[in-house]
Symmetry: C2
Subunit: 300 residues, 2 copies
Amino acid sequence: MLTVFGTMALDTTRTPFRVEERILGGAATFASLSAGMFARTGMVAAIGEDMPLANIEAVRSKGVDTKGIVTVRGGKCFHYDSEFDYNLSSRTTLKTELNVIADFDPVIPEEYVKSEYVYLANNDPRQNMKILRHFEKPKLVVCDTIEYWIQTARDDVVKMIGKTDGVVINDSEARLLCNEVNIAKCARQIMSFGPRFAIIKKGEHGAVLFTREGEVFPAAAFFLDEISDPTGAGDSFAGGFLGHIARKDKIDFRTMKEAVIYGNVMGSFAVEDFGVRRLLAITKDDVEERYEKYRNLVQF
Amino acid sequence: MLTVFGTMALDTTRTPFRVEERILGGAATFASLSAGMFARTGMVAAIGEDMPLANIEAVRSKGVDTKGIVTVRGGKCFHYDSEFDYNLSSRTTLKTELNVIADFDPVIPEEYVKSEYVYLANNDPRQNMKILRHFEKPKLVVCDTIEYWIQTARDDVVKMIGKTDGVVINDSEARLLCNEVNIAKCARQIMSFGPRFAIIKKGEHGAVLFTREGEVFPAAAFFLDEISDPTGAGDSFAGGFLGHIARKDKIDFRTMKEAVIYGNVMGSFAVEDFGVRRLLAITKDDVEERYEKYRNLVQF
């Protein structure tokens, strides 16, 4: 089993072309829906009473176990309001209402305890370390982090990374964390904190996997003509990556490379519509079909 | 035969780690040395009397035909003085001395007239159109262009592109030329000017080939831990791309995809040392070896 811990949010997302208010989003939602295409996935997140039940139903309908979703009495959902520029490449935060996630003390359902695979999304690193203690003996723990935590709690971020086996992180955040421009050097620095591998995500330019053994795998992104909403691409990547590994139940380099491509594939689906809409619409066949399409695309 | 038209320059290149003054550079030098690894290549460029003979000898020693290099009496070489930032990603121009290239009226040696393949580097588009008339019936003409011409002579740039079969251009310049962010749309707009294909170069993120038939080939860059001097990567790419096509004497999609990889390979060599130093040092075996290394690297 794979457990994902992160946010289940209501997002207001504004692009120059469209505004969508209070749509289902959040790192855990994207990652769980993606991972759920591959393996049994449970989702841990705190929500408020304002979360429409239909959203939880939608996630469950895709096979994701939602027993880990905790509704905080009288609480309100994490709400993130942001606006993209014309390029859909730079995002301005208009409002971040932490609400129920601020003091969330994560617990996990009994049946998640034996999870072999764990994804800790870009939560407070202290919350991530806390939840980690609940798992019995995971085979692979992967985390992400973001600018906010690097700037306000860098020591905890480094400590958290030290408790994981792999990191999936944006290039800009890796550079900030490591105070280093070269992403290969960033990856090595991150691995020096403990993990055996680091994946540097480069948005539309794909991702590069680095392992402690010195292996490298650069992967171009799946090529899309149009994107609707870049939100959640990174978490969908992480979900696809871990999902494939959990499905194969193997952590060798070959499987990790395939997993990076599945990560790219899931990220490419996520951005085709607003919020998690596209992830809710696709089937396992769509995923395999795009994987093959990608294979043909990059072949020479 | 492949003819390259561009600059043979003396470059002063400054990085935070090293300064090299008046070293051999220029678009034609990079492109010719790269192309020369694959096919018979002639170089057309104007130089001044201050060009050390040893530089011409060096280029000739790699098999490049230098009969097209014109020494302008009393003239001085094109000299470009620039400085890279700590990331080696953004470059500041300190001095551009056009000298002999300002009013160069390009002519070509008689034996270049029958060239099947022609690369027009980022010259004045009017010079590029002028030289093109000298060729009898090239099978494939490819050009590049830069910000300066897009901003000062856009109409001529579009006209020049209309006379070529393919364009190899940086992403930022494609965006500027097309006033469009999405590079797929840029490529389609560029092809609407006339060419059958467009290659958008993305620096460390590789390149994407688009054809008029709607084919797409995204290629991650060859992965390098360290780079010394990014100068000439784009022209080395173009030289490797056209060189491979000339060697195969085929212009189908499969050959173009291989050519993109050879372009990446040549670009990756170019940046490993200052100026053209690395291109002067490598052998054909080194090129094939890196091509195979790249193939293994991106395989999954």
